[in-house]
Assembly symmetry: C2
DNA sequence: TACTTCTTTCAGTAGTTACTGAATATACAA
DNA sequence: TTGTATATTCAGTAACTACTGAAAGAAGTA
């Protein structure tokens, strides 16, 4: 099958739902989600791409994303890959089609737990490790009678406070991660009941 | 009282605890805390300054901070102010001394709830607002029979999922913020018991 | 094989954020 | 008042991050 090349493109130039009312709503959501990206440690463009995939709820290809968000092919490609690496969108192959499609996970709880798990592993765990190590280094059998020193004791108190906080926080995270496969999870239900 | 000017400085050049063992431990903590800054939406230097004030547990002045962390006066001044604005460190005036001192809050739970409250207000609340507005804009009395459209329904489902998630998250935050004045708070106690 | 369609990579650049250090302001003391 | 110790501000710059677009690569088709 031969085709004037522009035809192939035109088919997809405005590939999406596109009732203006719907489009406006989606754009609104996308913009705001992009602005919030920082919370998740994800940059604006990545957050917008994710928002687009999430809010439309259908698989889109690279050109769909480029056209709708006005970003370059390179940026689109890299951001899509990064989102796949995070695991909050998925690559999709369509029978008989060469190009690849991408779709977002539909379950917000699952997405949250994926992100939380990864950030805990990358950012909290090492800090907790360091704190525990610091506490060890200030123990009497490491520094002898210096352990009685005022300054040392103050520092140890502070380390203890931080360790308690982070251990508890870690446990809470763990629960989200372990349970949040779908919908309201156990932790949240317990919490809401208790309040 | 007249003083050779260098004396006044020398007094404070290495003003801090300074048993090498203690210092090493503190530096360790400071470095790691700085690296983790991102989680809190606070940059490395600010996080390090905060870590220093937290871990030593005594009030320090601008020069103490500059000397210990090797940062410029300007940067120190601005970062200290920003930390004061966040409310996680406090300015201290000492009788008969001209220079100002700064000290960190000692209670990690309190610091956490201060930061969480502020970030919720600045980052989550507006998004939730937008989502609610999106849902409103897609209601039948706004867009009529278009509301039955497939694409519209998909988008509405996604918005609903997100709204549920964010509302619940908000409630949990609220509890931390409301209760976490000191030590293990109600929410955490409930959680730990339930798990 | 060569051709087409689509994807990935990456050097270069634009845009952003963090930091310095000198100038300026403030606040107290003599 | 002037002098001194301290704090703040901010223009300029360094360092970093995000983005583009062209080139190369991959994977399928004729």
């Amino acid at each position: 099958m031969t085709m004037v090349e522009s035809d192939a493109r035109v088919e997809r130039v405005v590939p999406l739902p596109v009732e203006p009312a719907l489009r406006t709503v989606q754009d609104d959501f996308i913009r705001k989600w992009g602005e919030m990206g920082a919370i998740w440690g994800i940059n604006r463009t990545m957050a917008e791409i994710h928002a687009l995939l999430y809010i439309t709820g259908i698989p889109l290809c690279t050109d769909d994303v480029m056209d709708r968000l006005h970003i370059s092919r390179g940026n689109t490609s890299m951001s899509l890959r990064a989102l796949c690496d995070w695991g909050i969108i998925r690559r999709m192959h369509r029978r008989g089609e060469r190009r690849e499609y991408f779709e977002s996970l539909g379950d917000v709880w699952e997405m949250f737990s994926i992100i939380a798990a990864e950030r805990k592993r990358r950012e909290m765990d090492p800090v907790l490790e360091t704190i525990k190590n610091c506490i060890r280094e200030l123990s009497a059998d490491k520094i002898g009678k210096l352990a009685k020193d005022d300054a040392v004791q103050r520092t140890r108190e502070r380390l203890d406070g931080m360790e308690e906080f982070m251990s508890v926080t870690n446990k809470v995270f763990q629960q989200f991660v372990g349970n949040a496969k779908s919908g309201l999870n156990k932790v949240v239900r317990v919490l809401l009941k208790a309040l």
